[in-house]
């Protein structure tokens, strides 16, 4: 049932009104590690979307509370993992917004996506990520909302200028050791600090049948650099950097060419002795979409160059990633299938193969099945998770 309430605050002739939309849903999901044969998730989630609109101001909320029963009396997972993931309340977005003569403002917890890439990040630097489920879901499912003020100015010709100021520095969130994807990537490193501002600018235009955007950002790295205290305790530091970037997308016959390019200035990495090294980083992405009848296929390639990279640095010299995907709907889109493969070509190589099925028997139910398979070298970012092949099932009911 769609919940739509309407509150008429004045007569129709004055067009004064308030409109409330609430859409709650209940999801239950089950995850199972098919490599080592154990349950990884037995979760129940209650979520709602809410939109309240008046003539001058809108309020948007999207959030959920969840409990995962898999942690009950389960020695496979650590106490830290249980504390981190057993019960959670998550704000996907919560903000107010309005318009003043071609200026659209919004204030609150928001997610902003920059760039043209699919599930890869080059100029997409605003929101950090929650790696609870590694990179198995679509990237927006694990993007973390950041409190920010956003202003979009729209020029007469349709060009737009976006100005973003985040009010709190948030880092990527990594699973605790002995969580499903627990590992040694910065455990317990999360940091949130109010008053550490970040600034982002985007200018978007349309020229020669091409969508073009220019980006500038000054803020904090989402991943820490590590050092040791005199007592040998690990300390995490989130360093400042600046980025200039551009993206474009252009159709060429049945193809759409997408690309991104970014220059990171004063980017900080660790040396093997845990000292900090400032480097300049160039990162680029090229992607190609092809539509044939009901099929959409994509190919992407991205890589980076660290200017002045040394073998002693803790991050590899380059990180070439190739992705390919194909998707389409069947039976009037009741069944939707997406298959994707990603290959990270460094440190021995690693590949992630994914199959995602979505079935909608009616307007109320959405059933999902995801199969994620990993192989590769233990040194590789993907290959390190090769014992975490997973099947994941979920059923969502929309009230």
């Amino acid at each position: 049932m769609r919940w739509l309430a309407l509150i008429v605050m004045g007569s129709a002739s004055t067009s004064s009104y308030a409109n409330l939309y609430i859409q709650p849903n209940l999801t239950t999901s089950f995850g199972y590690n098919v490599s080592e044969h154990y349950a990884t998730e037995q979760r129940v989630e209650l979520a709602t979307k809410l939109e309240f609109s008046t003539e001058n101001i809108d309020f948007t909320f999207d959030g959920r509370v969840e409990h995962d029963f898999v942690y009950n009396n389960n020695d496979r997972f650590s106490i830290d993992a249980q504390d981190q993931y057993e019960s959670r309340a998550i704000i996907e977005e919560a903000y107010i917004s309005g318009e003043i003569s071609n200026r659209f403002w919004s204030f609150g917890y928001q997610k902003v996506v920059w760039g043209e890439a699919d599930d890869l990040r080059v100029v997409d630097v605003i929101n950090p990520l929650d790696y609870k489920d590694f990179i198995f879901f679509d990237i927006d499912d694990y993007r973390l909302a950041v409190p920010m003020f956003k202003l979009d100015y729209e020029y007469e010709n349709g060009d737009t200028l976006n100005i973003i100021t985040t009010l709190q520095q948030l880092s990527n969130e990594y699973p605790a050791p002995r969580a499903e994807f627990g590992n040694n990537y910065y455990p317990n490193s999360e940091q949130t600090q109010w008053g550490k501002y970040e600034l982002g600018l985007r200018y978007s235009t349309f020229a020669l049948a091409t969508d073009v955007s220019l980006y500038a950002f000054h803020g904090y790295q989402d991943d820490p650099v590590v050092t040791l205290s005199p007592s040998e305790r690990t300390l995490y530091s989130y360093e400042k950097f600046s980025m200039l970037g551009t993206s474009l997308s252009k159709p060429i016959d049945a193809f759409v060419l997408r690309s991104e390019f970014a220059y990171f200035d004063n980017y900080t990495v660790n040396d093997s002795d845990l000292s900090f090294k400032n480097v300049n980083k160039l990162e680029a992405l090229i992607g190609l979409d092809y539509r044939y009848k009901d099929w959409t296929t994509t190919l992407q390639f991205t890589d980076r160059i660290l200017n002045g990279w040394q073998p002693s640095y803790l991050i590899p010299k380059s990180a070439p990633i190739y992705t390919a995907s194909a998707e389409r709907g069947f039976f009037a889109n009741q069944l939707y299938i997406r298959a994707a493969v990603s290959y990270l070509d460094n440190q021995g190589g690693g590949a992630l193969s994914q199959l995602k099925l979505t079935y909608k028997p009616n307007q109320q139910w959405v059933l999902k099945l995801n199969l994620d398979l990993i192989e590769g070298d233990q040194e590789n970012y993907l290959g390190a998770q090769q014992q975490r092949d997973r099947i994941w099932l979920a059923a969502t009911y929309y009230f």
């Binding site: 129709a12 009104y17 859409q23 979307k49 996506v113 009037a332």
Partner: protein, 274 residues
């Protein structure tokens, strides 16, 4: 005798040429008929297999002529799992070499994506209507001829046979031949049949209801039947309004991202609920 044959064959050639010219003229009248400066409607799109509903969508449809181009926005409002997915399409004046432009906004990715418009054979929202079927009637892409006149549910119609002029048109539309019934008086397409490469009739459009809205003849219900897959999709247009002064800014990518809200439409129509 030879002279008689020559005159007879000339007469056929002349007659065919006249018919072709008539067909294009009729179709141009259909294309150019008064359909307001702008248009908005709330739409239900339902796909059925026999009697079971496979898929149902409700969305806002807004159209406007901006200079000689036509722009259209479709914004899904229900069901909840696809709410706010929206499309922006720009069609350029027929005869210009410019390819149509299309964008899609997917709330799950918070991103407006450019879509190629050279292949419009894909199913629109999983229905039996293709993206090509949503386009404004294209006259010059086809060789057309009037093959007869016909009475259709008591309405006098021209029956026009149309064949794509090029492989590009076939690749874009997926159609090898169309047979179109045009209302003589109201200049509306009332029925259209679609043929595949083997000359088999595989799809048929039927206009179920035509109403006068603000003095403009308006299709308010239509059905597309797929005879191969035994499925059909119906468009139901509710609360259709013309000339509401829809702002050009509604038809921008940035607006797709912010979403076409109930309040936007309420403001335009003074109708407060979808």
């Amino acid at each position: 005798m030879k002279l008689t044959c020559f005159l007879a064959s000339m007469s056929i050639v002349f007659s065919a040429a006249t018919y072709a010219e008539d067909a294009d003229k009729i179709l141009q009248q259909v294309r150019d008929r008064n359909d307001g400066k702008d248009y908005l409607s709330t739409v239900t799109l339902r796909t059925l297999s026999e009697d079971s509903v496979l898929n149902q969508r409700q969305f806002y449809m807004l159209q406007k002529d901006i200079e000689k181009d036509e722009v259209m926005v479709l914004a899904i409002k229900a069901p909840a799992d696809v709410r706010d997915i929206s499309f922006l399409m720009r069609s350029f004046e027929e005869g210009t070499a410019q390819e149509d432009e299309q964008w899609m906004y997917l709330p799950a990715f918070r991103k407006v994506r450019r879509i190629s418009a050279t292949d419009k054979r894909g199913a629109f929202m999983g229905s039996e209507y293709s993206y090509y079927d949503l386009d404004k009637l294209r006259v010059t892409d086809f060789d057309s001829k009037v093959i007869k006149t016909d009475m259709l549910d008591g309405v006098e119609t021209y029956v026009i046979e149309r064949e794509p002029k090029s492989q590009d048109v076939i690749n874009k539309s997926g159609y090898y031949k169309l047979v179109t019934w045009v209302d003589k008086q109201r200049k509306l397409i009332l029925k259209q049949q679609y043929y595949d490469a083997k000359g088999i009739l595989f799809k048929q459009l039927d206009i179920d209801k035509v109403e006068k809205v603000q003095d403009i003849w308006t299709i308010t219900a239509s059905t597309m039947s797929n005879f191969v897959e035994n499925k059909k999709s119906t468009f139901l247009f509710h609360e259709t309004l013309y000339n509401q002064g829809v702002d050009d800014a509604i038809f921008r990518k940035s607006k797709l991202k912010r979403g076409i809200k109930d309040s936007d439409v309420a403001e335009l129509t003074k109708i407060s609920e979808l």
